[in-house]
Amino acid sequence: MSDVQTRPLIAPAPSLPAMPAIEPAPAERRAPSLLRRLPTSRVAMVGLALVLFWIAVASLAPVLPVPSPTAHDYAAIGHPGPGARHWLGVDPLGRDTLARVVWGARTVLAVAPAAVLAAYVVGCAMGLLAGYYRGWVDVVVSRVSDVILSFPVVVLYVILIANIGPSAMNIVVAAVLSSAPAIARIVRGLVMSLMHQDFVAAAELRRESDLYIMLVELLPNCRGPLITDFCLRLGYVTIAIGTLGFLGLGLPPPTPDWGGMVKQGTAMLTVYPGMSLYPAFALVSLVLGFNLLADGLTELSMSD
């Protein structure tokens, strides 16, 4: 292509009378991206506030004026209700409930996003491959997904954790296994409809690699539905972590874990309901935050 530089781009002669004048670049005409419009949705803002509250609590845990979550105050075991020394009381082992709720936020907010992110990496890869290549790749991915999705989520978690042992890493592994197929399905569907668009054909006409088309042309256009799903899924995984804790399959003690706290409190539920209720409230408010955020995002993307 050596003649490229010498050939004039604009024809001098034949284009004179009817060529349109050069048009100026347009100004931003439509509303900006989803995330930048977030403040216009009240639902989303309430959800965001709840989530941000717990993020603040979790990150400020070391400097908040609460006792150590693993210190035992044996004197308080006899009167575990709320008091001046322990605002929300103590658990049956004499550990401060408030401290454990605060530090428990740290646990859940570290594990849940990590688990969802990992699930997204795996799920997007599966969905992109299935939607892009179709054929036997799609058959394998879809059938494996079907099998995994046909288990009740809790049963799946219990089987997995019971077999590989409770730890933060294993919770992540379990979340990936149970969430990735659902994410893959969403991505696969989006990719299949995007594949008909001409910009994909245009990329093929530049001889782009499959990987480029999947990651650069297709994946960014899946982001709308995926952002919403990400928030919802954070809620699901938070619930799952709580459930595992409640079943005794959560993080190994003495790590503060909301689900485990609810479980410990159940023995004294009738006398000192706070032991179970405070961590339960914490769990509910965080999940509610994620769900409201997801609802708000859906609402915003509908009003587009």
């Binding site: 604009i10 048009e23 008909h196 093929e204």
Partner: protein, 688 residues
Amino acid sequence: MPLLSIENLSVEYRTSAGRSVVISDFSLAIEQGESFGLVGESGCGKSTLLMAIMGYLGRNGAVTRGRILFEGRDLVGLSDAELRQVRGSRIAVVYQEPSAALNPSLTIGRQLMEVPLLRAGTTVADARAQVVRMLGDVHLPHPDSVMRRYPHQVSGGQKQRVVLAMALLANPALLLLDEPTTGLDVTVAATVLDLVNELRQKYRTALVYVSHNLGVIAQVCDQIGVMYAGEMVESAPAASLFASPRHPYTRGLIASLPALGADKHSAPLIPIPGSVPSPMAARRGCAFAPRCVDARAGQCDIGAIAIRPAAPDHLVRCVRFAELAPPVASDAFVADAQQDGEVVLEADQLSRVFKVGRLRLVANDALNFEARRGRVLAIVGESGSGKSTFARILAGLDAATSGSLRFRGADVATQPVRRRNAAQVAAIQMVFQNPDGTLNPSHRVGRPLARALRRFGVARGRRAIDARVRALLEMVRLHPAVQHSLPRQLSGGQKQRIAIARAFAGNPELLIADEPVSSLDVSVQAAVVNLLLGIQASHGTTMLFISHDLVLVRYLADEVVVMYLGRVMECGPVQALFSPPYHPYTEALLSAVPLLDPSAGRARIRLEGEIPSPLNPPPGCRFAGRCPRKVGAVCDTVPPPAREAGDGHLIFCHISLDELRRVPPVFGDAAAAVVGAPTTASSRTDTH
């Protein structure tokens, strides 16, 4: 008293970004049985006007001024119950998309019978009889069987007939039609237009017909109003509007269409620069002034402009109309292509067969033709004729199942893009039909240009690439800053120009243009066609132009291939194709073109039905099933012979050349008449 009289109507929408005036100071009067056409680009408020008449403006829209008097009664401010009564029995609407008007889960008969049952409270037997009669009136064969079918079991053209029948069953005094033929193939659209005309005579219904297509409007309307930016800018009887348009916008619309019989060597298309202003934009004086070559500061931009009579019953909203000279034809603008360029592309027995279960879908069947360097080869035919399949094989997005396709000596028929070398890929590039899908919505528009330059090794290094991107944008007459915009910020025409720049980034030898302008407004279409032709001629690029629009093809092509159901029906130089002898299919396509001057006498043949399924095609002529000049059983059983009409003009037909030569020319002496170019998908993007 007129049937419908709109007086100084203004309609506004409230949006999060503020108030937008969609229709302002709009007046119109329609008598009993009259047909009024409303024409204008998309976004001019045509559909909104229909919505206002029907009282469907939605929660954020309102009539802020004026009256809509229907049979002497003001429709503005009627209660929902009163409106429902008017809508059901006195005014009916037919929309562009017939499938959206029919309930997919009810049989057609049941839906149609609801109209007399609910409106007039007739008995079931009476309702059935009425529906059968009406289905006969809209020329649906076997009404009884149609009534038992569900909407998805009839074709698009038939669906539109069903919707027309449904609208007429209520025996309305006024029928509103919103682009009812826009999504249909030309031959089908022509029969629907015939039907609208026939029903109008029969039922004495008044029509308001909205379309962006001047030719279609000319077929059905006595009185025409041109709308621009929510205003009526010109209104006149059809004949005088097309004979002596007075408003610069009307003149611009007509000038942007190719004249029938004109070609790129004789006259340019004259686009209207710019685009329809946003209804949010503040304006002073004439709304069209920013796009008007005749606008004068101090005259056109000082105050609101009233609509004034230019002649009895010819109204114009322009302060300068009296001073404006009638438009003069400009000079030729594309030089003649070299006549004997080398053959760069040669299809030989090229076929593409899809396997659908045990059935064979023959999308391309033994195609033979060639394209010469620097010339424009057009492929025409209705949708489903296999034009796009051929384009995809040529581009390497699909592979042929047999035959060869030689490009510069190498057979590319079974070579998808991945198996072609870089030079071959850069040499064949494509501009796609749909401007909305052609650019990745997540990428700034400069990105595909830069990427193509890098992939094809045209430029290396950021500065070289950046300079080249700017040059490409300048070539398609866009400002360099456009490269930082997202596709959604661009208009359809601008997106197509980016697509053209992208296709030319690798200096292709062959450009495939697959209906590149069919979804654009006519004024924009002219600009894009000019641009394509200008760049193509200056680069010496061979262009394969796929289209269903014969007038446009007549204008820009050097050679033409007419396809039907995957087969070539006729091919040859463009002049030869547009005069007898014709293949009967070409003749039918030409007959279906909506002319601006309906009085121009022309021989017409109409096709029955629609393009059939290409599954397991019959052994004889593909067109036999619909051919109005079918000879006999031989057409069904024996493939037609190639008849050489001289100068490379081939007709595949059982009828002898002598007999085909006796067919009168379709356009007769109307060659000077202007033609409305039909476009497929018009956008109904009036602001809501």
